[in-house]
C-alpha cells in the first residue's frame, strides 16, 4: 500500500467536499434543525437517560446521512479509472479515513449544538469526548462499507438504512452505555472496558472493511 497515494486520495475527497459546499452546508443545517426540533419538543423535562438516548439517535441519523453519499458520487467511468490506478485497500482506507475525520468534526459540532440548545448533562467531559470520537470512527468504518454495498445495489437510500442499522446496533449500544457512564460521572475503572470494546470494534471494522472491499470492487 502506498501512503502517498492514500494521502492524495484523502486530499481529493476534501477538495471535492469543499468545492461542492452545498452538501456540507446541507449537513450543518440538518444538524442544527434536528437538534433545534428536539430542544423544542423536550423543553425542560429532559432526564439524563433520555438526553443520552436522544443524542445517540440524532448522531446515528447524521452519520448515516453523511456516510451514505461517500460512494454515491462514484460514477461508472470514475469507478473504472479508480480501479485501474489505485488498489482496493488504499481506496477504501482513503474513504474510511476521510469519513472518520469528517465525522469527528461533525459529531463534535452536534454535541456542541445539542449542549447549547438542549443543555449539557455530562459530568465527565473527557470520557464523553472519547466515546464520541471512537464511536464516530467505528460508525464511519461500518458505513463506508455499507455505502459501497448499497452503491453496487442500485444506490438505493432505504437499502443503506436497512443494511446498516442492524449492523450498527452493537456499536451504538456500547457507545450509549459508555456515554451514560460519562454523564453520571462514574469512575474510569468502571467504564474502561467499554472503551476497550469500542477500540476493539474499531479495529475489527476497519480490518474487515479493507479485506472485503476488494471483492466488492471487481465488476
Amino acid at each position: 500500500m502506498n501512503t502517498q497515494l492514500l494521502s492524495q486520495l484523502i486530499k481529493k475527497e476534501f477538495l471535492l467536499e469543499f468545492r461542492q459546499k452545498s452538501t456540507l452546508a446541507g449537513i450543518l443545517v440538518y444538524i442544527v434543525a434536528t437538534v433545534f426540533i428536539s430542544a423544542l419538543c423536550f423543553k425542560k423535562v429532559i432526564q439524563p437517560a433520555v438526553w443520552n438516548a436522544l443524542f445517540w439517535v440524532i448522531f446515528m441519523f447524521i452519520t448515516v446521512n453523511v456516510s451514505s453519499k461517500s460512494f454515491m458520487q462514484e460514477t461508472k467511468g470514475k469507478g473504472l479509472y479508480n480501479y485501474l490506478y489505485y488498489n482496493a485497500r488504499t481506496f477504501i482506507l482513503s474513504k474510511i479515513i476521510y469519513n472518520m475525520l469528517l465525522m469527528a468534526v461533525l459529531s463534535l459540532l452536534t454535541f456542541f449544538f445539542y449542549s447549547w440548545f438542549v443543555g449539557s448533562m455530562v459530568q465527565d467531559f473527557g470520557m464523553f469526548l472519547l466515546a464520541l470520537l471512537f464511536s464516530s470512527s467505528a460508525f464511519s468504518g461500518v458505513l463506508s462499507l455499507m455505502s459501497a454495498i448499497a452503491s453496487k445495489a442500485n444506490n438505493n437510500i432505504s437499502l443503506m438504512a436497512i443494511l446498516s442499522f442492524p449492523v450498527l446496533m452493537p456499536l451504538l449500544l456500547v457507545s450509549v452505555k459508555l456515554s451514560k457512564h460519562a454523564i453520571d460521572g462514574l469512575a474510569w475503572s468502571v467504564s474502561y472496558k467499554y472503551l476497550l470494546i469500542l477500540i476493539m470494534l474499531n479495529i475489527v471494522v476497519v480490518a474487515l472493511a479493507t479485506l472485503l472491499f476488494n471483492y466488492l470492487w471487481k465488476e
Binding site: 445495489a153 437499502l159 470494546i197
Partner: protein, 220 residues
C-alpha cells in the same frame, strides 16, 4: 436414498422429545419443571448458530473460489438459520414467561442480540433481492454476510459476558453446567444438540438440492 444420519436425526429428536418430558430432573427454585426446556430451547439455538456459521463459511468459499454453487448453499443455510430462530424464540419466550415473569425483556443482551440477528438476515435477503445480476449478487451478498456475522457474533458472544444478563452463565448468574446439569440431563441434552443440528443439515440438504435444480433449469 435416505442416508444413515437422517435416520439418526429423526431418532435422536424423537428420543429427546419424549425422554425430555419423562427424564428425572433436579428440583430447583423458580425453574421447577421448566428446566426441561433446556432440552428444546438451547439445542434449537445451537442449530441456528450452526446454520448461520455454515452460511458464512460458504460465503467465504464463494469469495475465494467464485463458484455459484457455494453462494446457493450460503443463501439456503441463512434461510434455514432464520427458520430455526422462530422455534428458538417461541420456546425462549415461554421459558422467560414462567421464570422471569415476562415474555420479552429489553434488559437482556442475548434477547436483543437475537432480535438484531433476525434483522440482519432479513436485510441480507432484501439485499439479495435488490440485485439482478447473479454473479454480482453472490459476491455482494457474501461480503455483507461475512461483515454482518462478525458484528452479530460480537453482539451475541462478547457483550453479554460484559454486561448484566438474565441468562445463566452471564452477569453473575451461574451457568447451568456448573451446578444443575446432572448426568441424567446430559444424557438428553447432548443427543438433543446433535439431533437438532443434524435436522438443520437435513433441511438444508433438501433445500440446497431444490435450489441447485431450479438454478440449472433457469439456465437452460
Amino acid at each position: 436414498m435416505i442416508k444413515w444420519w437422517k435416520i439418526l436425526a429423526a431418532l435422536l429428536i424423537l428420543y429427546t422429545l419424549v425422554w425430555g418430558m419423562l427424564a428425572p430432573v433436579p428440583k430447583l427454585n423458580i425453574l421447577y419443571e421448566t428446566i426441561r426446556n433446556l432440552f428444546y430451547h438451547v439445542p434449537i439455538w445451537f442449530a441456528m448458530l450452526f446454520m448461520m456459521g455454515y452460511s458464512v463459511v460458504f460465503a467465504i468459499i464463494h469469495l475465494a473460489k467464485n463458484n455459484l454453487r457455494s453462494d446457493i448453499v450460503s443463501n439456503q443455510a441463512a434461510q434455514v438459520g432464520l427458520f430455526f430462530a422462530l422455534p428458538g424464540l417461541l420456546t425462549g419466550c415461554m421459558w422467560a414467561k414462567f421464570t422471569w415473569g415476562t415474555w420479552w425483556t429489553f434488559e437482556d443482551p442475548k434477547l436483543n442480540g437475537v432480535a438484531i440477528a433476525v434483522l440482519i438476515y432479513l436485510a441480507y435477503f432484501i439485499l439479495r433481492s435488490s440485485i439482478d445480476d447473479e454473479q454480482k449478487r453472490a459476491r455482494i451478498a457474501a461480503v455483507y454476510n461475512i461483515f454482518a456475522f462478525v458484528m452479530m457474533f460480537v453482539f451475541i458472544m462478547i457483550l453479554p459476558r460484559l454486561t448484566d444478563s438474565l441468562h445463566p452463565g452471564n452477569g453473575g448468574n451461574p451457568a447451568f453446567g456448573k451446578y444443575d446439569l446432572d448426568n441424567g440431563m446430559r444424557m438428553v441434552f447432548y443427543p438433543a444438540v446433535i439431533g437438532w443440528v443434524l435436522l438443520s443439515l437435513w433441511i438444508l440438504d433438501v433445500k440446497k438440492r431444490l435450489a441447485i435444480l431450479t438454478h440449472k433449469k433457469n439456465e437452460e
